[in-house]
């Protein structure tokens, strides 16, 4: 292992430790196909998403853990994937009977099962992912899903906030950039008696898949 390799490995290890510390589930996978398979597996093994608001015409299953009706047809939303990746995921979802979408997520804002996003970069010191969320659909994928899965290339992990400041600046200066998000772990609160709880508004779980280049 070269010195650069070992520094990179160190950064990745730090990222995993800090992300795990804020309740993210981190997986190291070799490439996109394995990641897409992981998405399908996660969706299959979870309890179906609860429908938290009226959604006329949607088939409803038995009440979920919060006593709300659940989806019969599960939904995977993956607005950030390119055509080829989306086609692969879509086919795998269809096989399982899931609905796979990449736009019009507002229609399912009552809640869906899995959202898939791609991170621009990672920050090791806090286990953070920087996301291009200009498109509403990109934002909703990480806000409305019960499980949010982020794909992050290991080579895009930086040590800390100061070391990525310039990249954030450049990202925000790109022509249509309007909304950039830093995400560290799933939605959380400690507002009642300071007891930690995840999933207050956004995802109940955050999974980060670290990909080799």
């Amino acid at each position: 292992m070269t010195l650069t390799d070992s520094i990179t490995r160190q950064t990745v290890e730090t990222f995993i430790a800090k992300a795990t510390a804020v309740n993210a589930v981190v997986q190291e996978l070799p490439a996109i196909p394995a990641a897409l398979q992981y998405v399908v597996d996660v969706c299959e093994s979870k309890t179906p998403a609860e429908i938290l608001a009226d959604e006329p015409g949607t088939e409803q299953g038995p009440p979920g853990p919060n006593n709300q009706p659940t989806r019969v047809k599960r939904i995977v939303a993956a607005p950030d994937l390119n055509d080829e990746e989306f086609a692969t995921l879509s086919a795998a979802c269809e096989e399982k009977g899931f609905l796979c979408i990449r736009e019009g997520l507002r229609k399912y804002v009552a809640g869906f099962d899995v959202g898939v996003s791609k991170a621009l970069l990672g920050v090791a010191a806090s286990g953070t992912c920087m996301m291009n969320t200009d498109r509403e659909d990109s934002r909703l994928a990480g806000m409305i899903s019960e499980i949010h899965i982020i794909l992050l290339r290991k080579s895009a992990i930086y040590p800390d906030l100061p070391s990525m400041a310039q990249l954030l600046r450049e990202r925000m200066n790109e022509a249509p950039a309007t909304y950039t998000t830093l995400i560290s772990g799933p939605s959380r609160t400690a507002d009642i008696e300071r007891v930690a709880a995840v999933g207050v508004h956004g995802p109940l779980e955050l999974h980060i898949i670290l990909l080799e280049d």
Partner: protein, 717 residues
């Protein structure tokens, strides 16, 4: 919304009821202890002091450029389709936001947390305008259901139990709710989702308004700000003008400290950067309607103030409340109006007026715990004292403070009165060190501790017999005695003289010295405080000393840190003042650092000795190691839990808020009792007064002394 108290007696009644809230007490006790430990751990990964200094410097610079940054932000943001507004005051801001709602046919509004919106009581205004407003931060939603204000800037509902929340949620949903916290959190998830979807307009706060690119940033753990800024067709961000920051770099630096200081997190879960009006499928043209409303409300004036402009270093982390021993006892509803904690006392004065602030700003014990953790290094206790002094200028003194000031102006009169007191008290002391028999009418609520008697012979009267000239002296030093040791505990100074003389140090005691002036500052008597400062500097300027030693940490800290500022208008004394303050040294540091006293200088008594770290020593002067090492040298050091938490004395504070002072003392004594030590030593006569009196009253068998007493007793001769 709670009301601010307008009289001290009304305020003390409120405090009494807060002190009886057992749940609040338990919650805040657990929180205070856990917070300190978690904070320490999470800051190990970064250079805390360097970051705080960076934030302070950057904020100070930004606040001088407020107008320029506003213009730059506005230009950048407007280029990207944002409407930028500027409101002079609360009424104007509320009017602008209500008009935006009307112009866009808004009926329902969802809000994410914004202290600025709380500052202007925005919800009340919008609701009066027939709009439906729902808070979406869990804590804010809970207090909205209860029609209360936040009791903490970061954890607005920290004063409530799960049972109260379950009751509120039961009422709000019409369904009996479980008291399990995880389930209660999900009730919010379910209930608020519909509100996000139905809302026409979202109102958010703004943690940073970045001038270089016109971006606003929101920081939340729950992700509600992302929903608020995404789902509704209109977004209004409310920002104080102090949120303007030149570039992203300053914002990212602040983000290294804000979450660590607020909740001991490395980074808040969601940090969003919104730059311009982005797509929004809820509008026919697929474009968000985005407004940013900047609030002045006195900010441009404060920005020009050389002292108070530092309040804009505040990142609203709430740490000043988290470590405040008074907050821990009374909770946020009694420790602020809208803004809570030490910064809350100050902001109330500026944003909500002196009528709301005049009583609240008395409730600072001056322990400096807040200053030691502030993300922007704001000198909060100093600013609170400064406000008291301004209030005195504007509204006049209360009788007690005015009397004190008029006596202190004249050293001879002041000292004669102190000497006279020893005769006046005679019938009450029964010949002991305590005023045992003070008639109850004088004791009032001060009965929680035995009050010390004025010594039979003051230190200045003993001095002629103690003074030794030492031509071969290693060091020549002078004592700054402070009133308490001169007149109440002269034996502490005598013991210090013994130690110093044995080690070849010549001590002088300039007679013209008087009270350091800190009690005057605490009572807002600035003018007399400046007079006594000048008198003290002159008293020590006749001879050259290697050090000016004080056994009182409060005097030392005041002399060292405040005299130069207090006397900055006295050009004739500038050089002497500088020299004087530089020479001020506390006794423990002098004998440990300068004289190098170590174990071999003592016959170790083997006695178990515990320590109370006086606020003005451990935080005021940053002295931590010296006294503990000296204890180890002369006896067996028994560490005490929460050793550096205030004993509740706070000088005149204990007279003004005896109920709080008594509770702080009780907590302290409980911890001390647990050590099983036979002796407690401290570096401040004020703490001796409080702790010795408390131990006596409670019948705890422990000797309470100054460090100097312990050292003199065990010194090898």
């Amino acid at each position: 919304m709670q009301e601010a108290p307008t009289t001290l007696s009304e305020y003390r009644k409120q405090i009494d009821s807060a002190l009886q809230d057992e749940f609040l007490r338990r919650t805040l006790d657990t929180f205070a202890v856990a917070y300190r430990a978690n904070r320490e751990t999470i800051f190990k990964e970064v250079d805390e002091r360097a970051l705080i200094n960076q934030i302070a410097e950057a904020r100070d610079k930004a606040c001088k450029r407020m107008e320029e940054l506003y213009a730059q932000f506005r230009e950048q943001a407007e280029k990207r389709g944002v409407r930028v507004h500027r409101a002079r005051d609360a009424a104007e801001a509320n009017g602008i936001i209500a008009r935006i709602a009307r112009d866009n046919n808004v009926r329902r509004i969802v809000k994410s947390k914004s202290m600025t919106a709380e500052e202007i009581h925005l919800n009340d205004h919008l609701i009066a305008d027939n709009l439906i407003v729902d808070e979406t931060d869990l804590g804010e939603w809970i207090i909205q259901l209860r029609h209360e204000g936040p009791s903490h800037m970061v954890m607005p509902a920290i004063h409530l139990s799960r049972y109260q929340v379950a009751d509120d949620f039961t009422k709000a949903t019409g369904v009996k709710q479980d008291t399990d916290i995880q389930k209660l959190v999900k009730v919010a998830r379910v209930q608020l989702r519909r509100k996000f979807i139905q809302a026409d307009m979202g109102i958010s706060g703004c943690n940073f308004a970045v001038a270089e690119n016109g971006a606003i940033s929101t920081v939340t753990n729950e992700g509600n700000a992302r929903m608020v800024t995404t789902l509704p067709r209109v977004h209004v961000a409310v920002a104080g003008l102090d949120k303007l920051t030149p570039t992203l770099d300053e914002a990212l630096t602040a983000l290294l400290v804000l979450p660590r200081n607020a909740t001991a997190q490395r980074l808040t879960t969601y940090v969003s950067w919104i730059r311009g009006a982005g797509p929004c499928a809820a509008n026919p043209d697929d474009k968000k309607i985005l407004h940013v409303v900047f609030l002045d409300n006195g900010r441009t004036e404060i920005a020009k103030d050389p002292l108070f402009s530092q309040i804009f270093r505040c990142v609203r982390c709430g740490a000043c409340a988290n470590v405040c021993p008074v907050y821990r006892l009374v909770g946020g509803h009694k420790m602020g109006y809208v803004y809570i904690g030490a910064i809350g006392l100050i902001l109330t004065y500026f944003f909500h007026g002196k009528d709301k602030a005049k009583v609240l700003c008395q409730n600072c014990v001056g322990c400096e715990a807040c200053k030691s953790v502030c993300a922007g290094g704001i000198d909060l206790p100093l600013l609170i004292r400064e406000i008291r002094s301004r209030l005195t200028d504007e509204q006049g003194s209360d009788a007690q403070a005015a009397l004190l000031a008029s006596v202190m102006k004249n050293r001879t009169l002041f000292h004669s009165l102190l000497k006279f007191a020893k005769y006046a008290q005679k019938p009450f002391t029964g010949g002991t060190q305590f005023q045992r028999h003070l008639p109850a009418m004088f004791l009032g609520r001060h009965g929680f501790k035995a009050l010390p008697a004025i010594a039979g012979k003051s230190f200045r009267d003993r001095w002629p017999e103690l003074e030794r000239k030492m031509p071969e002296a290693k060091f020549k030093v002078a004592f700054f005695s402070g009133c308490a040791q001169d007149f109440v505990y002269p034996e502490q100074l005598e013991d210090a003289v013994k130690v110093l003389a044995a080690k070849g140090v010549e001590v002088d005691f300039p007679f013209e010295q008087t009270c350091c002036g800190l009690p005057l500052e605490m009572m807002g008597q600035r003018k007399t405080s400046v007079d006594v400062a000048a008198q003290n500097v002159r008293a020590f300027s006749h001879k050259r000393y290697d050090a000016v030693i004080t056994l009182c940490a409060s005097c030392a800290s005041h002399l060292k840190h405040n005299y130069q500022a207090l006397l900055s208008g006295n050009s004739a004394l500038l050089a002497q003042t500088k020299e004087f303050t530089e020479k001020i040294t506390d006794f423990s540091s002098f004998v440990y650092d300068k004289l190098g006293l170590r174990a071999e200088d003592f016959n170790n008594s083997g006695q178990k000795v515990t320590y109370h770290a006086s606020c003005h020593l451990c935080r005021g002067l940053g002295v931590k190691e010296a006294p503990r090492e000296l204890i180890r040298a002369a006896g067996v050091y028994e560490p005490c839990e929460e050793e550096d938490v205030c004993c509740g004395f706070g000088g005149t504070y204990s007279m003004k808020f005896p109920e709080i002072s008594a509770r702080l003392l009780e907590n302290k004594l409980n911890n001390i009792r647990k050590t099983g030590a036979a002796r407690l030593v401290v570096d401040c006569p004020g703490c001796v007064m409080q702790l010795r009196g408390g131990a006596e009253k409670q019948g705890i068998n422990i000797r309470v002394d100054h460090v100097a007493d312990l050292l003199a007793e065990n010194l090898k001769r």
